[in-house]
Each structure stands twice: as C-alpha cells, then as structure tokens.
Subunit: 210 residues, 2 copies
Amino acid sequence: MGEVVAGASMSLDGFVAGPGESGFDLLFGWTGNGTEEVPTAQPGRALRMSPASAKVVRAQLESTGALLVGRRLFDLTSGWGGTHPFGVPVVVVTHEPPAGWEDSPFTFVTEGIEVAVARAKELADGRDVGVNAGEMARQCLTAGLLDALRIDLVPVLLGGGVPFFGEFGLGPVRLGEPDIVPGESVTHLRYRVVGTNSRSFACVSSFAGV
Amino acid sequence: MGEVVAGASMSLDGFVAGPGESGFDLLFGWTGNGTEEVPTAQPGRALRMSPASAKVVRAQLESTGALLVGRRLFDLTSGWGGTHPFGVPVVVVTHEPPAGWEDSPFTFVTEGIEVAVARAKELADGRDVGVNAGEMARQCLTAGLLDALRIDLVPVLLGGGVPFFGEFGLGPVRLGEPDIVPGESVTHLRYRVVGTNSRSFACVSSFAGV
C-alpha cells in the first residue's frame, strides 16, 4: 500500500519561500546545478542535477502515483500549464472547482482533507501520494494522515517568508531516524512520522473497533 | 585563528524551544540516549550519547575556547550554577552586569555584539568561540561576524515556540555544503557561512583598503 508523503525544498531556517515569494532560485538551485538529466512529463523541460540528487528524484517519480495539492499552489502555477511535471493525477483541495478543467489530470475535491486523501490514494493505485505544499502537509499531519516527510534541505537562511510547517496546535510530532542523501547544494532527508496525537487516537479507535 | 560558531539543538521545523518553553526533553534527548560517556566541567554531570554523537561533541569541546551567550540564557540557567558544562570562559552580552559575579569565569559586556565577539576571541586564545542561542547567533550573523553554524537537527516537529533564527532583514545568507554526521535521534550538521550582505561589504571594504 502506498504512503502519504509530504515534501518540500526548505531552507535551513524552515522556509519554503522567502519574503515576498522570493528565494526560489536558491531553494530549487539543486534541480538545475548538475550534469544528470531527469526528464519530466512537461515536454522540453528536463531537470539537471547531481547524480546523487537524480537518484533520489527518479525514485520519487517512480514511487509517486498521485499528488495532493492546495488550491493556492494550483493557482500559483496556473495548473502547471495543464500537465504536472510528475505526469500523475493531481487532487486539488478547494472550496470551489474552477471551470474548464473537467477533462484533465486534475480532480477537485471540496469535501476536505480526508476525502481528498482517500481520492488521491485511489488514483495512486498502490503507489505513494505526494503532498504539496505546507498548508496541505499541515492538514494531513493534524488529521493523522501523514506517513512520511521528504525534506530537501537547502544550505541557505532566508530569514523570513513562508514556513513549511508553521504553527500547529498538535503538540510535538515525533519522527523516525532520517534517510540522508547528500546532494550538491541540498541534503535529501526522509523521515517517517511515528507519532502524532491524532494518529495515536486513530490507533486506539481501531483497536476498540470504532 | 579560531572561528565564531553558533550552535543549537533544533527541531526539523526550526525551533530551539517548543511552545511555553516545552520540548527540551525531545530536543536534548540525544545527549542522554547512548552508552558513550562525555564528561562535562560540572562535577557529577556526564552526558551519555551514541558513539557518533560523542565524537562530534568531544571535538566541539576540544575546539571551543570561549562562549558568547545572551543575558536571557545566562538568567534562564542561573549562570549554569557558576560553571558552564564546557569549562571555558563565557562572555555574556547584557545591558547591566549582575552583582556578585566579579570573580567568575563570566565576563559581562555592555558595549554590544562586536565588542563581545572581540572579547570572546581574546579569551578563546586561538580556539573557536561558541555562540548561544538564537538571538546572539542572529546578532553575529547580521554583523557579519559568524563563520559557521552547527545544527543538531532533531527528528521532531514542535509546531511552535522559539525559532533558532527567526526573522532577520538581511536577505538570503548562503551556507556551504554541510558536514553531516548521523547520530541517534539527531543529525549533526555543520555549515560554513559563505555570504551575508555585511560580510560581502566587509570584503569589499578590505579590498578598498578601508
């Protein structure tokens, strides 16, 4: 069964965008600073990175069966011009589906995060569901639906902007020991989510047959 | 010549204390979860950690000749009961020196961060100056006085509290590739500070003979 994995390129000080939506050149520099080509589903748009990073990204492309994103990211990217670089179905959490996207790889879910995750899991067909960005990661985390975190940790301090996680009223969330892959201008970290309050509660509930 | 190195145990979401000064058991769990004993300068208080972490901490103890801390940390720890675990001179940045600490390893500096760093460097006598915690690290960083960052990255999300870096109006600060040492419940990262606005300016100034 696939897992629900939230991911981001993050500065050492925890930001996924700098002040005023700046810093993307620094945060994503590692996707263009090497010699190893990684094709995407967008025609003519390949990434070029270090061999170590390429191995990580190829594995991620292979293991990801669907994506779950927020409406903000969908709008910011104009729906990735119709094709997400991963070339997989994308579930967009929104209050109101936009017009004109009926016949597309994009599915719009208005019933909240749990329904969205269930729909993405169906579409992923046994592979992982990738979650972007912070707000969706946070919603999955607080609902006890997040299995793992994949952080591409970039050696820069942005000093402000959009934090990946931000404040959430959940108490500490314990993670497992990370898988660590050093790249160039990035350190790839993958953590298992081992304990949130919601998750513990869910376990108790299923033991109790609720 | 020694370097100025700021360090902290930090959660993956960038906090050095959880909400309401919580989370220290999680942030510093790695200093007591192993079999390898690391003595401190405080009688009867040894740390016990994994062999990998012990190697990192011993190297840090050997290379550190003085510490620079803020008054808040000094007060929070009641001056470490008179002896800092590192057993080295400690420079405390403060507005007003406390009474009764004249004959101690603590030096109180009221003239600001640049004078404090200069004093700590003298006391370190060629070894490194360790900087704690966030506020002092930030002041050194914005003054262009920080050479390196040592982050003990702990696999936990605290969801709020005291950020290590916080917001600073400096623009992006580029770091070098990290030295990475995986421990148990911690990943030791050490980054070189390669570019801040202040530092670049200082370089230009020294080129210009100013």
